[in-house]
Symmetry: C2
């Protein structure tokens, strides 16, 4: 199935509206899943509409919450998503975060009480468009064993970063601190495919290539003890620091319903101009040298493939498996 970006957006929005979201929520979430589909980041694409609707129908996710902004410190803005999806809270708080970063040089956004499933690159990219560099991190559900352990504890805990590049798309990356994204294992399961060595343990703590066993067992952190340490940091900074849930707490709150995690998200924004003590133009020019040296030796920038897919999608629209398309259409209540 080939859909134009407008058609993909209209379908997504329809599905969400017909499941009880208000206009603001439906627009924010539809933009987000279509952006994932557009960038061929399929595990955060329109497939996620199934998860969204499950959350709405569970009665737990609010589709009309009005996020509340709390200015808790000169360098911190806190937004209570009131059990809505994260996207709306992020949109509402972005101008405050950017203003604080420009005033203080560095500032933090604490998103609390949000249901979360979106890719963090969307948020750090949006901030880079305002000229600030940004780091984002969030826990998820306890799917991943710590290095040396056998039981799920950490989430897949994504970590994202964007550096603004005047006149061109930002330098962006967004990776799960698990070896693979959970969405990739879920997609392998849907397709009946095996998963590679080193991705996961079964319920008894033994290595497995079966995606179903992996989903019921424990995923593994990337980079052994280093990825595991980073994942623990994300639990602490985007959990207790924000007064919000860690992955194992979010999992417990879910109570087996299997909807998307509810928790917090930490975003840190840096103003290059304030760090430069004025105008960061020269520093930006030096940053370009690094990126040129990466590309110049035949290596790829982290977001290069995604930006290429984006350009293609602007021209040709997005593709959906026929079966997924039918499942999505059937969600219109």
């Amino acid at each position: 199935m080939q859909l134009s970006l407008d058609e993909a957006y209209a379908l997504s929005r329809d599905v969400l509206l017909s499941n009880g979201m208000n206009e603001q929520h439906a627009a924010a979430v539809a933009r987000s899943v279509v952006a994932g589909q557009r960038d061929e980041c399929h595990s955060h694409g329109m497939y996620r509409l199934l998860v969204c609707v499950k959350g709405m129908r569970s009665g737990k996710v609010s589709g009309d919450a009005v996020p509340e902004i709390h200015d808790i410190a000169p360098g911190i803005v806190r937004v209570d998503a009131k059990s809505g999806f994260s996207q709306v809270a992020f949109d509402v708080a972005t101008p405050v975060l950017v203003r604080k970063a420009r005033e203080c040089g560095i500032a933090a956004l604490s998103i609390n009480n949000c249901y979360h499933f979106s890719a963090l690159w969307q948020e750090v990219e949006a901030l880079a468009e305002h000229g600030v560099a940004a780091i984002a991190m969030t826990p998820s559900h306890s799917y991943v064993a710590p290095a040396g352990g056998k039981k799920p504890l950490f989430g897949t805990n994504p970590f994202a970063f964007a550096w603004p590049r005047p006149g061109t798309p930002p330098f962006v990356f967004d990776f799960a601190t698990s070896v693979a994204a959970r969405g990739e294992i879920e997609l392998a399961h849907r397709k009946g495919e095996k998963i590679p060595d080193g991705w996961a343990l079964d319920r008894d703590g033994h290595p497995t290539n079966d995606p179903q066993e992996a989903l019921q067992g424990a995923m593994l952190p990337f980079g052994l003890h280093k990825g595991s340490a980073l994942s623990a940091m994300i639990e602490l900074l985007a959990g207790p620091l924000l007064g919000d849930l860690m992955s194992f707490e979010s999992q417990a709150r879910d109570g087996g319903i299997g909807i998307t995690p509810i928790h917090g998200e930490l975003i840190i924004a840096f103003s290059p101009d304030r760090f430069a003590g004025g105008d960061a133009q020269e520093n930006h020019a030096r940053a370009e040298l690094l990126l040129q040296h990466i590309v110049g030796q035949g290596a790829r920038l982290p977001s290069q493939r995604r930006f290429a897919a984006r350009i293609k999608s602007f021209e040709e629209g997005v593709r959906l498996d026929e079966s997924l398309y039918q499942e999505i259409c059937a969600l219109r209540a």
Copy 2:
């Protein structure tokens, strides 16, 4: 050779004083290398005195610089190390960083123009003792190829984090974004040992197990494209963001002399109390649950082995190879 901690400190300080450091610099650097030795973190231990003295004798590193503090934004303190070692600049700026973190909730320390060789865990641990969580990062010299590349570009770029734990040593990690620390390859070279698969490429971009070839070729990032992305982030945030040198620029500045890198370091401090909107006691108690779940399933906390070595060293002192001990003693001019 067995030395008490006091003896190790006195020897280190003597060596540094006799090579032209003033009291403040010699004390700060001696404390730092003895702390590395004490924690059996040998690549940042007293072995580094050789590197320090080489830097002093080159005439490039200042042993009596007076660091200059610049309060450049409500959330940023900048300290110009004036070509001294980083430790003195860090010590001088710490109270300002902690104050700003308490005022703003989040704050950044930009250390500039410093020669750097110390382990970052020392700094984030020191901040955790003041009750703030902290992230630290710094470039080094261009030793590491980006994922998919073949030529050195990134530094070994360490990333460190500490979370304060009231009444007990903090949760701390500090890892190189290369598979191995450069110091480990240098030590393998000194001992005539091979290095494991996956650590490095030779000058032609082919995998090698020879530490000498590795030192002249390119080290590899940990965790493939993820570690590589993180390393690029560290170049950008602790380089151009601070208006300071990236690893390839620091390397060029060195001009083949082979002293320790000169560049910047970024430290971010978070006030748990400000994030909690008052008292973070309950959040700290919840953080402990995560750490209990890690240890409870038989996995290790990142700093556990180091803290055990520390306790042992407090009782028994530190051990040094006889040959290293003689080399260090011979440094007393």
